[in-house]
């Protein structure tokens, strides 16, 4: 019952007027960027990092939590009305959501995704609270070898679950790790991979990675596909609500989506996008209305929207419990913790309970705020789509430049971000996943550190390191991650099951 005492304390923190204000700013910003194409939560948090230097960390993380959850709510709106997902995690929502809108059921589709997001967000926050607490109790027993192994699991998962080409996904991960290792080695003071360029001594900040790979590359992408950009916007006819039958069909889909989303999200490395694809596939299998899928089945909207919200909650489990991020957005959040000199994990729960529990409590509050913002006020968000796209994308570049510059006041960072932007565009065009790069930048130095400290513990014997009981068990999971998707796809191909043959072949999340 200790949890409830802590949670009450968290609510006391989260309900203070200042923190409520930041939660409110977070959910409004999050919904807006969720609706707008080209900007996602990882990028927004990156851009806000310099601004938050002057904020109390509690307020900053409450705002980040609101942005993260809000982006998942907002992404569905464009999927349904414009057939252009605002976030990759809402791609699958467009399949049936846009069809529902064309059939005149836009209101019902928006309602089921908003309420589904609320149900899933609330359940996932509950799950986060329980599992992060359990994880923290276990995590105190883990040493550097185990942390090293867990990070290998995260990288294996993100590699095997993103994209269609294995060598491309593995390369993306390695590229991220290499970028992360650039600069001063904190154990020996040696410079690594700087090639004599003084400006690289400080290393490449994950914020530069997020802005280059997620912002500038998106702008270039928009420019490159200018001719194929056209928009048919469906309008909301009637009220934003469901019929009794639609409601009855949505409820089980919400619950299944929540469960799938949370547990897939909690595995380090598996994204919200993967969660939404898998929950859509599951819904299609169990539904009594199989023929409706692709033509406007409400379950096909309810389940993936619940799943991507639940996955956002799930992602926070390894971040808060172990200090290991499992997605692009949580990787940037870890960078934010490091800026404040905080290390999430067991220690943070005991040293800064106000921060951890304030964040968890504010996630419950953010969900309530988001339900209000997205159900009755959905019409306002649709208006954001009236911003002319050329100005929007030009503005994204300007904000990116300001964000990058104010981070270190360093002109060289602008050059780095430009190079990463061009690289991100080429990688996206030739189907290399980008999320593993971001994760690699953050995990590179951590893996290096834990591997080397672990090797000191085992007197330089790598086999001893790998065969410690904890490490061996964790690494077995990594192998499972690498093998499982391929095994499922092979089985699917052999049995002629198309849904399994393309298992987990989702774009990056």
């Amino acid at each position: 019952m200790e949890i409830f005492g802590s949670l009450l304390g968290g609510f006391a923190t989260a309900l203070s007027p200042v923190n409520l204000l930041y939660a409110g700013i977070g959910v409004v910003l999050g919904t807006a960027i969720g609706v707008l194409p080209g900007i996602g939560p990882a990028l927004t948090i990156s851009l806000l990092l310099p601004i938050t230097f002057s904020l109390d960390p509690v307020a900053a993380f409450i705002m980040f939590g609101g942005i993260y959850y809000g982006a998942m709510y907002g992404g569905s709106t464009t999927s349904i009305l414009v057939n252009a997902p605002g976030e990759s995690a809402s791609v699958v929502t467009a399949l049936d959501g846009y069809q529902m809108a064309k059939n005149g059921r836009a209101g019902a589709a928006l309602a089921t995704s908003a309420i589904g997001s609320f149900v899933a967000g609330t359940l996932a926050t509950l799950g986060l609270m329980i599992f992060a607490t359990i994880l923290v109790q276990q995590a105190v027993k883990l040493g550097p070898p185990e942390y090293f192994a867990i990070m290998i699991v995260a990288l294996s998962a993100v590699t095997s679950l993103s994209g269609t080409s294995a060598p491309k996904a593995v390369f993306a991960t390695l590229l991220g790790l290499a970028l992360g290792l650039i600069g001063l080695d904190n154990q020996t003071g040696q410079l690594r991979l700087t090639y004599g360029i003084d400006a690289l001594e400080e290393g490449i900040d994950v914020v530069l990675g997020a802005i280059g790979l997620f912002a500038l590359s998106e702008v270039f992408w928009y420019a490159a596909t200018l001719r194929s950009q056209e928009e048919h916007r469906e309008t909301i006819r009637g009220s934003v609500w469901m019929t009794g039958d639609e409601f009855r069909r949505s409820v089980p889909a919400w619950l299944r989506g929540s469960g799938i989303g949370f547990f897939i999200g909690a595995l380090p490395g598996a994204g919200a996008t993967v969660a939404s694809f898998i929950s859509y596939a599951v819904e299609k299998r169990v539904s009594k209305h199989k023929a409706q899928f692709g033509k406007g089945a409400i379950e096909g909207v309810a389940a993936p929207e619940a799943a991507n919200n639940a996955a956002a909650g799930g992602h926070l489990v390894p971040l808060l419990g172990l200090g290991i991020p499992g997605s692009g957005t949580t990787a940037v959040m870890l960078a934010a913790f490091q800026i404040y000199g905080l290390q999430p994990g067991p220690l943070l729960f005991s040293t800064r309970p106000d921060l951890v529990w304030g964040l968890i409590a504010s996630l419950y509050i953010a969900n309530v705020m988001l339900l209000v913002l997205n159900l009755p006020l959905v019409g306002i968000w649709v208006k954001l789509l009236d911003i002319p796209k050329p100005l929007l994308f030009a503005g994204i570049t300007v904000i990116s430049a300001v964000g990058v510059y104010s981070l270190n006041r360093n002109a060289f960072d602008l050059v780095v971000v430009f190079v990463l932007g061009v690289m991100g565009f080429l990688m996206k065009r030739y189907e290399f996943p980008l999320a593993p790069v971001i994760l690699g930048i953050v995990l590179g130095p951590l893996i290096d550190n834990n591997l080397r400290r672990g090797m000191i513990m085992t007197d330089g014997n790598f086999i001893t390191l790998l065969t410690r009981p904890g490490t061996a068990a964790i690494l077995a999971v990594a192998v499972l991650f690498l093998v499982l998707p391929f095994a499922v796809r092979l089985y699917g191909r052999a049995r002629g099951r198309k849904d399994l043959a393309t298992f987990a072949e989702a774009p990056e999340g």
Partner: protein, 149 residues
């Protein structure tokens, strides 16, 4: 047939990056304390990159389908990349206000906007808004360039 796949160039590009990483790893001096030196992980990463380059090349040789690329709009893409480069390089010497206003108006036009008056008004309003937010409220200094603000 396979030579047309852009993945051939991709594999070559990976190989180049792999060699760069490998060279950087191998040439890292090891001060000789600790069990695993600072050069080890970069070297392993470089070597594994080389493996992925070969792996991708084998995939292509085996006839794995090339990435499904849409035809590029070369002109707006080229101009956007050029405009972004000029903007980012001019950001400090010319200052935020000059470089960002010029870039916004130019980039909007490159991306197909044909409303010059609207773009100029919107850009200036956006620049003023960002300036007030950063410089006045957050007291984060932005580069001034030749202007007094």
């Amino acid at each position: 047939m396979t030579s047309r796949s852009p993945d051939v160039i991709g594999a070559a590009a990976i190989a180049v990056l792999a060699v760069i990483t490998l060279v950087g790893g191998v040439t890292t001096p090891d001060p000789g304390f600790g069990v695993v030196g600072p050069a080890v992980l970069p070297t392993i990463i470089g070597a594994l990159m080389l493996v992925t380059a070969i792996w991708l090349a084998i995939d292509v040789a085996r006839g794995s389908p090339p990435p499904q690329t849409e035809p590029l709009d070369r002109r707006p893409l080229g101009y956007s990349i050029a405009a972004t480069a000029v903007f980012l390089f001019a950001f400090v010497p010319l200052g935020f206000v000059i470089s960002a206003s010029a870039f916004l108006i130019a980039q909007a036009r490159i991306l197909g906007s044909r409303h010059l008056v609207r773009d100029v008004i919107a850009s200036l309003a956006f620049i003023v808004g960002l300036y007030i937010l950063f410089v006045q409220f957050l007291t984060i200094a932005l580069p001034k360039g030749p202007l007094p603000f």
